[in-house]
C-alpha cells in the first residue's frame, strides 16, 4: 500500500525539483553560450574536423554502449552497480590481443608469399576467432564473478555488494598486471584492418579518413545491440530476465529459476563487454591491465545518463557520451586532455539535475 506523503515532504520535493530545474537551465545556458562562441563565432575548426570528431565519438560511443548495457542489465536484476565490469571488458581486450599474437606466429606460407602467417592469410577468420576468444573469456569472467563474489552476498546490504564489486575490480586489474606485465601492448591487426586504412571522403575541401576498424566496430556494436534488444524483448530468456527485474518473488512463482537467470544475465553482460574489449583492441590498438578502467567508469556514466536499469537508455547514453566526449573539448574550446573530465562532469550533473536519467523512470520505493 502507498504510504501517504505528508504536505511538508511534498513541498520539500517540489522545492527540490525547482532547484534541479534551475541548476539545469543555468548550466545549459552557459554551455550553449560557450559552444556558440567557440563553434560559430571563432570558427576555430573546419567542418572536416567536426566530422572526424563526430565519427570517432560514434565509434567509441558504440563500445561504451555495449559496456553500459552490462551495468544496466545487472542493475535491473540485482540493484547493484557491478564496478568490476570494466575489468571484464579489459579481459576481453586481452583475449583479442593474444588471439592475434598467437595467430601471427602460426606460419601459413603460400608459394607467392613464403613468409605469410595465419593472421594475414585468413584475416576474417582471425578476427572472428579474436571475438570468439574475447567474448568467451569475458562471459566466463562475468559468470564466475557473480558466482564467487556476488552470489554469497545475495541477501547482504547493498553497500556490501558495492564494496565487493570494487574489490573484485582491483583484484582483476592486479591479476592482469601480474600475468601480462604493466606495459602497454601494441595490438597488431591483420594488414587489411590496418588502423590507418579506410575510405577517404572530402568534407569542405579537406580529406577525412573513415577507418575500416572504426566502421567495423560501429556496425558490429549496432548489430549486437539489435541482437540484445531482440533477446530481451522476444525470447523466453529475455522475458524471464525482465520478470526477475520487475518482481523477483513473483518470477519464482512462475517457475523461473532466478539464480539461473542471474547467471545468464552476467554471461550476456560479460559477452557484450568482451565484444567491446576486442573492438577496443582492434580499433584503439593498445591494451594493458588498465584498459578497462576508464571505459568502465564512462560506460557507468552512460548507463546513469540513460537511466540505470533501462536498456535503450544505456545504448543512447553510451553513444551520446562518446560523441559528447569527442566533440566536447573542441566545442567548448578547452584542452583535449580534459575530455575525461567532461564525462565525469556529466555524471555529476545528471545525478543533480535528473537522477533518473534521460529515459529512466523514478525508482519506485519498493525497489529502493
Amino acid at each position: 500500500m502507498d504510504k501517504p506523503i505528508s504536505t511538508s515532504t511534498h513541498n520539500k520535493l517540489r522545492l527540490e525539483r525547482y532547484i534541479r530545474t534551475a541548476i539545469g537551465i543555468v548550466i545549459s545556458a552557459f554551455l550553449f553560450w560557450r559552444i556558440y562562441n567557440v563553434v560559430v563565432l571563432q570558427q576555430h575548426f573546419g567542418a572536416d574536423t567536426w566530422v572526424r570528431f563526430g565519427l570517432s565519438g560514434l565509434i567509441l560511443g558504440g563500445m561504451y554502449a555495449l559496456i553500459a548495457i552490462g551495468y544496466t542489465l545487472v542493475y535491473g536484476i540485482m540493484f547493484m552497480i557491478n564496478f568490476a565490469h570494466g575489468e571484464v571488458m579489459m579481459l576481453g581486450a586481452f583475449g583479442g590481443y593474444f588471439t592475434f599474437e598467437i595467430l601471427r606466429f602460426i606460419p601459413a606460407p603460400t608459394t607467392a608469399s613464403p613468409d605469410l602467417n595465419f593472421l594475414n592469410a585468413n584475416p576474417f577468420l582471425s578476427v572472428l576467432l579474436a571475438f570468439v576468444v574475447g567474448i568467451t573469456i569475458s562471459a566466463t569472467a562475468g559468470f564466475y564473478l557473480e558466482k564467487i563474489a556476488y552470489r554469497p552476498l545475495r541477501n547482504a546490504p547493498r553497500l556490501i555488494l558495492l564494496i565487493t564489486a570494487i574489490g573484485a575490480s582491483t583484484i582483476l586489474q592486479n591479476l592482469a598486471m601480474l600475468l601480462f606485465g604493466p606495459q602497454r601492448k601494441n595490438v597488431v591487426n591483420p594488414d587489411v584492418l590496418d588502423r590507418a586504412a579506410g575510405w577517404v571522403i572530402n568534407v569542405g575541401g579537406n580529406d577525412v579518413l573513415i577507418s575500416y576498424t572504426g566502421v567495423f566496430s560501429l556496425v558490429l556494436s549496432t548489430l549486437l545491440m539489435i541482437g540484445l534488444f531482440i533477446l530481451v524483448q522476444r525470447t523466453k530468456l529475455g522475458r524471464a530476465m525482465r520478470a526477475v527485474a520487475q518482481d523477483k518473488n513473483t518470477a519464482f512463482l512462475m517457475g523461473v529459476d532466478v539464480n539461473d537467470v542471474v547467471s545468464k544475465t552476467f554471461i550476456i553482460s560479460g559477452a557484450l563487454a568482451g565484444a567491446a574489449g576486442v573492438m577496443w583492441s582492434i580499433h584503439m590498438g593498445l591494451v594493458n591491465h588498465f584498459t578497462g578502467f576508464l571505459p568502465g567508469i564512462k560506460a557507468f556514466t552512460a548507463a546513469v545518463m540513460g537511466g540505470i536499469g533501462n536498456i535503450p537508455g544505456a545504448m543512447l547514453g553510451g553513444i551520446l557520451l562518446g560523441v559528447i566526449e569527442a566533440i566536447g573539448p573542441a566545442g567548448m574550446g578547452i584542452d583535449f586532455q580534459l575530455k575525461d573530465v567532461i564525462a565525469f562532469s556529466i555524471l555529476v550533473l545528471v545525478l543533480i539535475v535528473r537522477p533518473s536519467g534521460i529515459l529512466g523512470e523514478k525508482l519506485s520505493e519498493e525497489k529502493l
Binding site: 524471464a240 513473483t250 519464482f252 517457475g255
Partner: protein, 236 residues
C-alpha cells in the same frame, strides 16, 4: 490427501508468524483459510509455494515433501500460487504476463490454446492484450493474475485474497469463476478476508488467529457458528 500441512513453524527474523499450523486438503476440494489481518494466512501460502522456509513442520503434496524443494520446482509439481495484491508484472503486456504464467511449459500450440481459453473466460483481457499490466484496473489485474495462474495448469491453486479491493459485483464474478475452475478439476486453497463469500463456496474451512488454527469445519458449519459470525461476519 492432496496437501498435508503439519505443525508449521515459520519466523520472519524474530517474529513468530506461524505457531504450529496443521491442516489438509483433499483432491477436488475448495478449502478456505480465513482470519483477521496479520493472522498469518499469506505466510501459510508462501510457505507452501516455497517462498518461505519453515523452521519446523512439513508440507506434503501428493506424497512428496515440499519444504526442501525450491519454489520454481514446486510450480512444476502443479502447485500454483496467485499472490496477494495480484503481483502483475507492471511493465509487461497482458499477453506477456500470460506467457510468464506458462513459463514451465514448452508446447507452443498448447500455450496458444490456453491463452485463448483464458481470453474466453476473461474477454476484458483480450481487449487489453497489448496493454501494460501496470496500467490495468484492479479488477482487470485480478483477472490477469488468475488467468496467469491457470496458464500453468495447476492441480492445486493457492489464491490469496482474490476479492481484495474489488466492487461487490466483481467479487461475485470472481467467486463464480473460482467455483467454475474448481468444477473443472482444480483443487483450491482460498485465503480470504471476505469470510462470507469464502465460506459459501468452501467445502471446508479453517480459521487462523495469530499464527494458530483456532477452528475448523465445513463451510456451512462455520457460517452458522456464532463466534465466527461475531468475529468475521460482522456479527448480528
Amino acid at each position: 490427501m492432496m496437501l498435508h500441512v503439519e505443525n508449521l513453524q515459520v519466523y520472519y527474523g524474530a517474529i513468530h508468524a506461524l505457531k504450529g499450523v496443521s491442516f489438509h486438503l483433499d483432491k477436488g476440494e475448495v478449502v478456505a483459510l480465513i482470519g483477521a489481518n496479520g493472522a498469518g494466512k499469506s505466510t501459510v501460502l508462501k510457505t507452501i509455494s516455497g517462498l518461505l522456509r519453515p523452521r519446523e513442520g512439513s508440507v506434503t503434496f501428493e506424497g512428496q515433501v515440499l519444504e526442501e524443494v525450491p519454489p520454481q520446482d514446486i510450480v512444476r509439481k502443479g502447485v500454483i500460487h496467485v499472490p496477494e495484491g495480484r503481483k502483475i508484472f507492471p511493465r509487461m503486456t497482458v499477453t506477456e504476463n500470460l506467457e510468464m504464467g506458462a513459463y514451465i511449459h514448452a508446447d507452443r500450440a498448447a500455450i496458444n490454446r490456453d491463452m485463448e481459453s483464458v481470453f474466453e473466460r476473461f474477454p476484458r483481457l483480450k481487449e487489453r492484450r497489448n496493454q501494460l499490466g501496470g496500467t490495468l484496473s484492479g479488477g482487470e489485474q485480478q483477472m490477469l493474475a488468475i488467468g496467469r495462474g491457470l496458464m500453468a495448469h495447476p492441480s492445486l491453486l493457492l489464491l490469496d485474497e482474490p476479492s481484495m479491493g474489488l466492487s461487490p459485483l466483481l467479487v461475485e464474478q470472481i467467486f463464480d469463476i473460482i467455483q467454475d475452475i474448481n468444477e473443472q478439476g482444480t483443487s483450491i486453497l482460498l485465503v480470504e478476508q471476505n469470510a462470507q463469500m469464502a465460506l459459501a463456496i468452501a467445502d471446508r474451512a479453517y480459521v487462523l488467529e495469530t499464527g494458530k488454527i483456532v477452528m475448523q469445519g465445513t463451510g456451512d458449519d462455520l457460517l452458522q457458528d456464532s463466534s465466527v459470525i461475531e468475529a468475521y461476519l460482522g456479527g448480528h
